[in-house]
């Protein structure tokens, strides 16, 4: 069963990117590794992100081509691959993935055969009621919504053990990478996906402890850490700035 996980620092960084440019749509790439163990379970770990745009630049192929070109060269040198894209829409209440984001995801899928889109849901960040604020989608001939589950403390240690066995080759010193279990959304079953040999049940998207992440995000906002986020657009306006490695946390 393929599983997707996202490291805590990546999740926080993409939220910070969106916070820095609160009035605009933000887009960025997700980088990580695909690991297949003996039982042919593949795990896709998102270990970092590269912020790209804080405008409608994502709708233009010239910008996207530039981003994918530079980031894939970068990935080669770090033995990472582009796993997917994250986005925060300028339109509120938008239920669907924007078409341009789907296209970017499909382009990524052609190259790496896995693609995840994370949409930032700012409704889930209302004061006093903060939760994990992303919706996940993965591509299996078409875009499937995948529920994001936050790991509770009970499964925490078990998840860490499983991961540390599989990620021994990973260069990341990510202590807090956690494996999350996903449950299927009932409505997806009802859509009659019998044509697809693998059922949606097979996909799980996991993220760390909700309470901890919410607290950490609030703390980073107060410390105004979002100022340190640099995206591709910032780099094009000032080439001295490095957009490929974010140094936060």
């Amino acid at each position: 069963m393929p599983q997707f996980t996202i490291s805590n620092s990546t999740y926080l960084q993409l939220l910070l990117h969106a916070s820095k440019h609160f009035s605009e749509p933000v887009t960025g790439l997700l980088l990580g590794r695909k690991i297949t163990d003996v039982s042919s379970t593949s795990m896709i770990n998102i270990t970092s992100c590269v912020p790209l745009f804080h405008s409608n630049g994502f709708t233009l192929s010239s910008n996207v081509d530039l981003a994918l070109t530079l980031v894939s060269t970068y990935c080669e040198s770090k033995s990472l691959s582009i796993i997917g894209v994250y986005h925060s829409s300028s339109f509120n209440n938008s239920q669907d993935l924007p078409l341009a984001i789907k296209k970017i995801g499909e382009t990524i899928n052609k190259i790496t055969k896995t693609s995840v889109v994370l949409i930032i849901d700012d409704q889930k960040l209302k004061k006093g009621k903060e939760q994990i604020a992303i919706k996940a989608y993965c591509y299996r001939s078409k875009w499937i919504s995948v529920k994001v589950n936050s790991l509770s403390q009970k499964n925490f240690k078990q998840g860490i053990e499983e991961l540390s066995n599989e990620e021994s080759s990973s260069g990341e010193n990510e202590k807090e990478v956690v494996v999350i279990e996903e449950e299927e959304e009932e409505e997806k079953k009802e859509q009659g996906k019998t044509k697809n040999s693998k059922s949606v049940k097979d996909y799980e998207f996991q993220i760390g402890d909700e309470g901890m992440l919410v607290e950490k995000f609030k703390k980073l906002l107060l410390e105004e850490k979002f100022r340190q986020i640099i995206d591709l657009e910032d780099h094009l306006n000032n080439p001295e700035l490095d957009f490929l490695t974010q140094n936060i946390n």
Partner: protein, 294 residues
């Protein structure tokens, strides 16, 4: 980094730096809401006597607008003060409309703006706010309709043409986006940004003739601004590269030569920009890329 901002980070109580910073932001109409609230609120609350009456109310309006982004409770308080001071002011009424918008009370906001327009039918700001409400509600069709309606009355408003351009791009209506860009170029022919934008759209449409047009517009953008225009050089490189890889059979010899020259020109210029910089991941990646793709 901004001089005033630097001063304030070391001495947060320096009211002169705060006042000057806010003046700069007002001039540039910058939306740096975090900073405006952080340094503007203490200015209003504790040092209001240091500002002239005129400036005090301008700062209050500025902090009110910033609060709509980051601290809405402060905005509510400020609006009450402004309403007390200027009870029948059109300007303050518009601010009350903005507060309703920020809180998501679309009907109240629309009522306020429509009543403004009833008495002041040529008021551009109220008209624009109505467009913003429809955009915030997610009603793309209505937003486009409202924008076109506005532009039929006020054709010279480049800010609105840019807004319409952005919406068409999100809806993938590239030919209509091109039309908006052409209006921008007509209005401001020496603005390199408009040429860069139209080049991006032609590149996105992507057929052979479009790529050639894109290449021309990137080149023109570079002609208008030779330095500090890295994005146009990248655009030129990518376009020439795409023409080379996709359409080399369809280009005759002279065209192929021109394309190759432009490709090399852009590549050299980009490399030169990075070679002057300190080492970091981005510099290494870019130089790696050009090494592999000679």
């Amino acid at each position: 980094m901004n001089k005033n901002l630097e001063t304030l980070q070391n001495k947060p109580n320096n009211w002169k730096a705060a006042r000057d910073l806010l003046r700069e932001y007002r001039e540039k109409q910058a939306r740096n809401s975090y900073e405006i609230i952080k340094y503007g609120l203490p200015l209003i609350n504790k040092k209001s006597q240091k500002l002239s009456k005129e400036e005090l109310f301008e700062v209050m309006e500025q902090v009110f607008l910033a609060g709509l982004d980051v601290n809405i409770e402060e905005s509510k308080t400020l609006l009450l003060k402004l309403q007390k001071q200027f009870p029948k002011s059109l300007r303050v009424t518009k601010l009350s409309g903005l507060l309703e918008e920020a809180m998501g009370n679309w009907k109240s906001a629309i009522t306020i703006y429509k009543s403004i327009l009833k008495n002041n039918p040529s008021d551009q700001i109220a008209r624009k706010r109505l467009v913003c409400v429809s955009k915030a509600q997610g009603d793309v069709v209505l937003t486009i309709k409202n924008l076109n309606n506005y532009l039929s009355h006020f054709q010279g408003d480049t800010e609105t043409w840019e807004e319409l351009l952005e919406i068409y791009l999100t809806q993938q209506c590239y030919s209509k986006a091109l039309y908006c860009c052409e209006e921008l170029i007509l209005a401001e022919p020496n603005n390199y940004q408009h040429h860069y934008k139209i080049a991006n759209i032609y590149y996105t449409i992507g057929k052979r003739t479009d790529l050639i047009k894109a290449r021309q517009y990137y080149a023109h953008s570079i002609k208008l601004l030779k330095e500090q225009n890295l994005k146009s050089y990248y655009g030129l490189y990518l376009t020439a590269n795409k023409l080379k890889s996709l359409y080399s059979k369809n280009l005759d010899q002279s065209e192929t030569q021109i394309n190759e020259q432009l490709l090399q020109f852009a590549a050299d210029k980009i490399k030169n920009v990075y070679l002057k910089l300190e080492d970091n991941d981005t510099k290494k990646t870019v130089l790696d890329f050009f090494e592999k793709n000679k």
